[in-house]
Every structure is written in C-alpha cells, then in structure tokens.
Symmetry: D2
Subunit: 372 residues, 4 copies
C-alpha cells in the first residue's frame, strides 16, 4: 500500500514518516507539507538521508496518491482532507483534535475555539484509542472508509493508566482523579518559541496551563466512558502537565481514590511505612490490571518493584503501567509511561492504520525500547 | 565568627562551605570530612581554587574550633557532635533527620530504622523551618545553645506551599492532600549509584519510593501542626517524589481539596475552561497567601500569570509559590519551587544560623537567582 | 542461527542484544553475564520486558550454545572464549581491545598493561573495520572461523573521517593530524562512577585523558595503514576526547594539513571569510570522499551546507561525514559523527557478524535515525 | 554610582543587571530595552522578583541617567549611544563587536558586513581584554571617557589560553594554532530559533560555522599582538565552535605547535603513553603559565591532574587553564574554560567598568563557582 502523510515535516509527521518507511505493508510514501512544499523531506530532516527521500507535495496530492492518509496538522484545518478521503474511500487518520470529540462539538468549541466544518464527517469518525474502541473501529471500518481521531498524547497515557480501575470498580464512584503528568519537549512541536528555547527549559521543571490544558475534556470523557462500562458514575478530573528537560516521553502519576471495598484501613495516627498488607493489596490490584490488559500488545503492566519510567519505553509503542497504593491505604497511585511521539502520536496512528486496513495490529511497531 | 562544617565534602556540605565563605559575619571556616580527612577542600572541589581553601579535619576538631557547627552527615551518626556543641555552648545545625522529629522518636524509628542515641538532646532541639518555628527558635536560643533539625528538602517546599491554606481554613478539614514533587539529581547526593548514573537518568523522568519516602512523616507532621493552628483536623498526605534530569531544584505540585466555603461550584456536565469566576477566586486565595507571607524574606507569592518553576529560584534561598484552582472549582493547586540545595538544605541552614546567632536573617543569602 | 553474547548486561552488550533480537537471521539468543549470572535479562533491563527475555548464563554456556559469539567484556579477560570458539569452529566477535592490534602485542601492552594470553589466536584474528578490512575479513573467513577485533568507538569515527584524505593523497605526508572528539556518557559504560554521576557531568563539558587515551595507538595505526595505501608516510596523531552531557554519539573534528597541491593559497594578511574559491575546493574534496565511500552502505558524505551532528545518526549504524577547509586554505577539517553504541560498538559488531556469516551486510542494521 | 544597561533584556544584558545589582559601588540601575520598552525588568525576568525591579526605558534615557553605560545590543546599532556617552563624559562599555577592531574597519566590514558610523570614536575606544590591555585602558581612561570594546566570548577563552605560550616563545613562530571550542546554548542569545530549540540541540553535539565564525579575526588579531610581544611572527588560526547541550560555559582546546627548543623528542615508531619526561616538560610549561598570570585575579592555572571543565567556573569570572603536551612531545595542548556569560560577556564588562572607574578590579565579581 501507499501511505500518505500531510504535515510530514512537523515532529509527529516526521515520526510517522520514519515508522511508515519501515512498515512491512507500506511500499511507498507520499509526503505533504505546507511550510516546505516544493522541498524534499531529506533536506528538512538530513537524518533521513540515504534511507527516506522524496518531494514534499501539496496536501491534495497526498490524498490523491495514497491508499491511506495521515494528517499531522494544526487543529481545525484538516477536515477538508478527511472529506476528500471519505469520497475517495480510503482511511483518514487525523492526529489533530478535530475528530476526538465525535458528536460533541460543544466540547471541541469550548476548549479549541473552533467549530466543525463538516459535522457530518463524524458519522464516519471514531476516537482511535484501540484499548478503548478497537471493536468500534473494526465495525465502522467494515462499513466503509473511516476517520480516526487519533488520541492526544496526555489522554493516551492517562486513560490507559486509569481504565482498569474505572472499569473494574476499584475507583470510588464520582471521585476526583488527579492526573499529574510530565512531558518531554518534543510535545511542544517543531516551531521554536521561548518556552522551548534550550536555556529557558533545560535544567528546570515547571507546570504549564494548570487546570486549563485542552486535553482535560478528552481525559474526562475517556474516564467517564470507562467508568460507565464499570457501572459507576463519572469521575472528575484534575490535570496538571509539566515540562521536563528531556526529548521524549510522558509520565503520568494518577491518583485514584479507591472505593471502600478496595481500601486498606490504616492504623489511626501518624503515617507509617507501607507493610505486608498493602503489598498484598497492591498485588491484587496489579492482577486486575494484568487481566484487563492481557490481550493488549502494547500495554505492559510492570512487575513488583519496577516503576514506570519514560526511558523504558523510548521509541516504542508501549505504555508501561505500575500500580501502587498510598501508605494510608485509601488511594491507588498509577504510574503510566509512554513515548509521547509514538504511543502518544505517530505509533498509535500506525496502530490505527493497521486496524483499519486489516493488518497485523503490531505491524511496523516492533521496536524494542532502548534505555538511552 | 568561625563556622564549622562536619561533612563538608558532600553536596550539601560543599554548598554550605560556598555560602559561608561569602557570609559577612563569618571570618573563618573549619571543615571536617570523614571520607577525605587529611586532604584539602580545594582538592576535592577544584571549583573552589583561589577562593576557598583549607584542610579537612576530624569532626571533633570542627566542634572544638568553631562558634557554630553545621553537620551534613548521614542520618543517625551525628548526635555525638550535637552533644559536644551543647556542652561547649554553641549552636549545632543538623542537616540530617536526627532532630526533625523532636520527642517523637517512634516516627523517626519507624521511617529511619534508628533510635535516638541521646534522647535528652531533644530538650535543646527544634525543627528549623523558620516560617513555622521562628518564634520558638528565638525563644529556645535565648535560653542557651540550640540544636536545629534542619528540614528535609521536599518537606520545605511542600510545607511552604500548603501552610497558608491550612492555617487559613481554605483546606477541607481532614482532607487528603497530594504532594507530587520533582527533584533535581543533586538531591541524591554525591555518592555515585546506578540511579544517578547519567545514562540511566538523563532524558527520562520517573517516580521513586512511591508512597514510601521518608519525608512523608515530616510533611505530615508539618501539615498537622499548621492545620491545628488553623483550628482544623489534620489532613492525610500522599507524597510522590520524581527524579528529573536537572541538577538543582524541587518543584512541588500540591493538590488541596478546598473547604466548601472556598469552593466555586462548577456547572454540571463536562468540564469547561476556567472563566472569570475562577480567576476572581484565585485572586482571593493569592491574597491569603500574600498576607500570610508578607513578612517572610524568602517566600515569593508569584503574580497572576507566573507559575512556579525551578529555574527562577536557582542558587537562591527563595521559595516561589503560585496558586491555581482546578477548572471544577473544588481543589486548590499550589505550585512551589525551591532550590533543593539552598532553601532545601544549605541556605536554610544558614538562615537558621542567622536566627540563632542574632544576625540579620538574610545575611549571606542575598543571591539573585540566575535563570540559567 | 543462534547468537551468543558474553557480557550481555553492560551497555554495549545490551545494545547487541537489542539489535540481535531484531536481526532477520537470528532465531535465538544465548546471553551470558558474570555480574548477573542466574538472573534474567529482562530483570536487568526492564525496557526489554515482553520483547526480549531469557536467563543469564555462564560464558562457557554461551559459547557452547551459539553459532556465533559476541564478547563485550573488559580488556584482557576474553581470550579464553575466543579459543573455545575457534576450537568449536564458530566466529568470535570481540568488543574489547584484545584483538585490535593483531601481532603488535607491544602496542597492546604499552597502552593496556596486559599481555596476550594465547598469542597464536592472532593467526585467526582481524581488525574489524569493514571500510578498511572487508576483503581481508572475507578471505580469512573463507579459511575457517575468525576472531574479529571490533574497533574502538573513537577510532571508528576518526578513521572513517580521515581515510579518503589519507588514501587519496590529500593529507600532507607525515603531517600531524589532530582528532578532537566529543562523546556521550554511555561511552563510559554502565558502572557508576564520579565522572559519570549526573551532577558532575551534566551542564558541563571537559576533556579527559588528554594525549593519553588508549585509543591513540589504534587511531595511529589505522591512519598509518591508510596513508601507506596512498603511498604516503605515516602521519602523527594527537587525540583529545571530551565528555559531553548527552547519552549517545561521538563527534570528531579532524584537522588534516593539506598537501601543497590541495591547498588554496590565502591572500596574505589578516584572515578573511571563506569565498567562492574555497567553496569550489571543498566541493572537489567532497567528491573524493563521495567516490571513496560510494559503495559503503553505512557512510554518508553529507551534502554542502549540512554539517556532521550526532543527533542525525542516533541509533543507526551510519557514520556521517562533512568536509570543510579552513579559511586560510591550508587545512582540511573533517567532521564525523557516529552513534558510539552502534557504529562505535554493537552495530559494527553485527556488521562484522554479517560479513563473517555471509549474510547481507546491512541485515538487522536498517534503523532510520530519529532526530531525538 | 548609577549604572545603565542598554539592551537589558537579552541574556548578556540580564546577566549584567544581575551582577550590577550586587555590585558594592553601584547604588542604582537604569535599564533600557528596545523590545520591552515600557515594561518592567521583573516582568521579563520573574526570577528577579523581590530583588531587582524597575522600568525599561529608551536607550537615550539610559545614557542620560547613568554614570557609566553598558550596551548589550546587536552589532552595528550602538555607536550613537557611545557618542552620547563620550559627549557626556562617561564610560561606554560595549558588548557588541563594534569597538573590538580599533582602527581596522576593514576587518570589521569583512566579517560583520557593516561600516563604522562614527569612525572617530575609535580614538576613545580600546579592546577590553584586561589581561592584554589593562595598561592601555588605564592610560586612556586618564585622558577622558573611554569606550570599551568588550571581547567576544570565544576570543576571551582562546586568547587567555594561548597568551603565555605566544608571549613566552613557546609557540613555533608562524605556526597554525587550532582552537577547538564548545559553547553552551546561552551563547546563541535569547531569541528562539531552530538551532537552539530544545529537541534539536539537546542530547547532541555539532560544530557550526566551521572556519567561518566571526570570532576568527578577533582571535587572530589577539594572537598576533601577543606573538609580537614575544618577538615572534604571527600564527595562523583555525577555529571551530561546537554547540553542546548545556546552558553556560565555553571550553576551548587549543593546539599550539611548540617551537623546537620546547619540544620533547619522541622515540621513533608507534606512539607510546606519555612518561616522566613529558610530565617534567609539562611542569615547566605550567610554570611559564603560572608566572605569566601570577598577578591576574581571574585566571587560574590549574594544578597537575586537574583539567579545565566548564562546571568549575560556573557563574564566576574565572578563566581556568590546564596545560598538556601531546604524547609525541611536539604540540602544546591548552584547555581553557570560562563561563561564557560572565568572563565571556557580562563579568568581563563589569571588570572593565571597575578598571575605568578606578574601583577594585574584582569588585562585584567575587562569586565562588558552584559545581552545579
């Protein structure tokens, strides 16, 4: 098949190009760029020299020449290409937020300040978190070409970390779940700005967009859907992203109040170090997580003693999850780690393509994480 | 005066040496080291060449030759020097945990696995967080030589971030307060180990000692004391430290459930971006913080639009605090930033010396933070 | 085939494991470790979980169970396994310096302080820099099992950068060639030490072992061999390695005095910015480099305007080379960039295995460099 | 005195502000900014909050309200303010290249593409490298207000590293001296760009502007002046700057061919590790360096076994120098380390102010380097 990438010169686009070039089912690439149209990909990314080469064409030409199209564009500008793909009858996998909210245009408008250009496209679109929606994606794909709203980076890590607790009734119904996340700087994209200027962000850590990040409604919706599957009322979400001086990776530390039956009553008085009882309860919860993800190729529930860390998933499509209980026994602490550019963007997009096209879901996504 | 430093060759010790060498009241230094006894400080730290120079002597000689003694030693080995200083009648400022728990030996034993060697020393000791205990330190110092239990790095940032909310009744009584912190690698000390080996911790972020870090009882006790001052019941504490690839700094993101009267009821349904109402409430809370700290020389409550970041306090004794409310209106999010080696260790120790010795509290601590 | 790795838990060993696990001709791995014998590789490197798994056995068992053996051991301890492999009739690819000096035991002894244990093994051994010795490796492999002395990391980058100039008569005969290199911290291995402790080496750059690094005799020998092929007398070598706060990569800036016929006489007087004439000469020299490497799969001579940089070869087996002339026209400046763990260690070892085993030379080495 | 800073919001300007705010002779600051005129310095740099505060005014107002003026502006735009200061009779310390070339407008034009606006100002201007020109600065200052052409960052480190060898006749007359330098990213200034975007420059090292950097003529001129003082013909200079993922610091590794009388003849044949003879010769050369700099407050010739490293001069005005000889005995290798923002810019500017104003030369420059 021929894969097309619109927006191939941004970071997510370039990662897509890198993954697709090594994909066993992809025979050729058509690459589009608005900023560098007329140039060549190996000039923009000389790291590709000798491996990946080709002209950067107009978005329309990408759609015309491909069997599946990825779009890594800013929010609110790519619907037209989705439309073309639907008319042509090929999948459109969108890495912007345009198709992440299905029919809920109000949420999209409230947080992104834009409206749907072609609302009817949502009849063919689906939120592409395979661990949540694989069945729905497959069903929709049977009926014709689909549009994938590829998940945001933070929502991917947060959702995979919380799902088993929500679906399994571990989370206290209607609780406030806190997602405290740290991202590498590639998450900010390729455009230079003060925030991502080396001397301003290296050797430092800081939160940003506290309680106002656009990924809040996406995380919140995912949590609600999963809680409803577990028969519980929707939790509230508090989300704080932090910028960390590293290139790749998102680590999310997720605090989930346990429902009473899952709590371990602490002795009254001052806190004491966790003992055997908490260890046993943690093992029980880990078992719930392992069972939930036992058929998932890209989620690794880590063994006891191993904690989520971004360098263990580097350049892979894995989401690593470790489970912990606070020393008071009342709160589940889940740590999830992904590579923000792979499972958080380009890798998940390829995973979605694989599902839509009927390929092996892991095709082209077999990279073993290198620690450094 | 002559200042002595026992354990001068560890990172906290070396920072003490650097600060004391520039202190206007300090005329000479006596430096002790177990690992490098017989060597010279400028050989161990060639960055000191031409500025700070001197032999590294036995701990006993430090106590004998100084007017005030700092100890930057492992936990559980320094009480003997405190005893000597008390007998000699000079202040002893201890950077280990040995004197952080006052009479509560049980907490110390439960978390540090040691017992008090000279329990009676606690009659002369006090927990040295000036913003909490300045009056008590001054009173004790009037009565004779004091032992300062210099606070842990994480507890300093966490406590300063939460105090105004606890003392002012903003925090829901008995709530679970989550402290999610990120530290630079100097926090792990000078001894090489796998965790702090460059290739293992650079370009990555990960939590460690989740729900089991020794700073939990110290944070918990501080929160309780302050809540009691505000007439409220003690909160529970959940604390997760993270290691971040930077040298200095601790950033704490603190989640404090608001008491009902301080909440801003959100519209029901899906989350919406924060609006004017939350902004107004945030301003109200910022005012509480500003009032609480209006006489504190080292706490900066940041203006609207500026968020805590570790590179803004680099090499200074400042604790920067920014306040935020979650988009649902129920939870106060406080961000505090300190330099872990200064306000989190050596700087605060000097601040404590200044208080004990009757110097200007800010003496020797005037460094303006450099952004990089 | 079954590949064996002795010393699988060091950094070079672990990279070998990662590459071999994805190698199309390798059906299974046998992994040996002295430090972690009895444990499992996925416990030592949890990043391998779900992808690579297996017990860590004794070195003898590796040799017994494999069709080719790699050794990533300290210098001077692996000859015995080479002997076993020769007796068994399978290739032994050694990443230490033990087989890099062929018959010249004196050089090995002078710089490494050890003697050859089984000198006769050198009859079956060859220095494994394919761009220098491919033919010889193939010839030796035809006659029986071979021992590969896999090149050092610095010598690989330095040699590939200088070869075309030496072989092509560009370098002034007998000149002093300066190799100024910068390495990422993985080059120091997995064992924690002060030099590679994060706070001591991050946010800093420094040379080490100035004019005394063990790679000097290897670089010197390679330069001599290549100069002799070009009919010129051997150059002298000055080599200064630097430690840079990054994980991977070696950048070498190589200063080669040009022979008179290749010089561009500068106007007398103060230096002026390079003009068209130098650009033309640079293009001529680039052509020499392109021709020299036109059949090499892993050397990329960079186009005009692109300079060698370590992030363009990340995790790949490429050596990138850019050529420049000093503004005075007298000296060729070559910049070469490799990934120290791949072309500088594990990747080149796999390349050597491919050659010895008659596989496609690029098998298992197709990774496209990711910029970050 | 009142110090004025034009261009106070760039990195060099902000460092000037930080240093001057703590200067014992400076009672007030007047800060100018083109980009942020009308704003306040503590809004642009919130790290200054509570310590440094004030409006950002027009450049003209800075000149009008100050007793000495610093300009940290782009090249070619600040001469008008120099003129105003000369008319007003106060010193003007310029951090751009405008006054670094004295009467040699041709060099300035060739490399910077600009001409002198007021050529006659050069009668009052002097190149401000105190270790080279202190006497001349003092003489000129006696005659009236002076303009200081504050040296470039790279030329400072390179010149201080080479001077004793050039002045003392150690360098072979007319030799090619290679300066291979590595700089932290603050050297690129505060303006965001692709080159200094965190994901493009972190975890990587690369040269830039090979053989074409604008500091070449400045280094070359300094070397020539010093060689002439030593009675030798001018050397040629090859200069290669590299970008390293750190914030501050410049490390220069300088290769100086030794004049025959200073060489240590190596045994013929392959290189051998350096022995006692080279150690003795190195000590001799170190003595030359120590003597040359014995009265310089900011140059530290490092003792045997200690090599120049940027983290040993962090935030200080020191230039650290270590001397080495190549194993062949023919070339002196000097390593110099400075903080590019201090001795390489703002610190040296303050040093020049101190000289011009008759203050203690070290006033305000006493910071002890912190290792991290």
């Amino acid at each position: 098949m021929i894969a097309g990438v619109i927006g191939a010169t941004g970071y997510a686009g370039a990662e897509l190009v890198r993954l697709l070039a090594a994909h066993p089912q992809v025979s050729a690439l058509v690459l589009g760029s608005v900023s560098f149209e007329g140039d060549r990909i190996e000039n923009v990314y000389p790291n590709f020299l000798g491996k990946i080469s080709g002209p950067l064409v107009k978005p329309e030409e990408v759609a015309a020449g491909s069997d599946a199209v990825f779009a890594a564009l800013p929010h609110g500008v790519g619907e037209q290409y989705a439309k073309i793909c639907m008319e042509k009858g090929i999948p459109f996998i969108d890495l912007s937020a345009d198709f992440r909210f299905d029919e809920d245009e109000a949420a999209f408008t409230a947080w992104y300040g834009k409206t749907y250009v072609y609302p009817e496209l949502r009849r063919r679109s689906i939120y592409g978190l395979p661990e949540l929606n694989r069945k729905k994606i497959l069903e929709l794909a049977k009926q014709g070409p689909v549009i994938i709203g590829n998940p945001g980076c933070y929502p991917t890590g947060a959702s995979l970390g919380a799902f088993p607790a929500l679906a399994g009734g571990l989370a206290a119904p209607g609780a406030v779940i806190i997602v405290d996340s740290a991202s590498g700087v590639t998450g900010g994209g390729r455009e230079p700005s003060r925030s991502f200027h080396f001397p301003e962000c290296s050797d430092s850590v800081a939160p940003y967009k506290v309680a106002s990040h656009r990924h809040i409604p996406e995380i919140s919706r995912n949590f609600r859907v999963m809680a409803e599957q577990g028969g519980a009322s929707a939790p509230s979400v508090i989300f704080t992203p932090h910028l960390v001086p590293m290139n790749r990776g998102i680590l999310s530390t997720i605090y989930i109040p346990l429902s009473p039956s899952w709590q371990t009553p602490a002795a009254s008085g001052a806190p004491r170090p966790p003992g055997k009882e908490l260890e046993a309860k943690t093992a029980e919860i880990r078992k719930v997580y392992e069972d939930f993800y036992k058929n998932e190729p890209f989620v690794r529930v880590l063994p006891p003693g191993v904690c989520g860390a971004t360098n263990r998933v580097r350049q892979s499509n894995f989401c690593d999850i470790s489970v912990h209980i606070d020393q008071g026994g009342s709160t589940l602490i889940v740590v999830s780690a992904i590579d923000n550019m792979i499972k958080g963007a380009a890798g998940q997009a390829v995973q979605n393509m694989n599902i839509c096209m009927g390929f092996e879901e892991t095709a082209g996504l077999g990279a073993v994480p290198a620690l450094f």
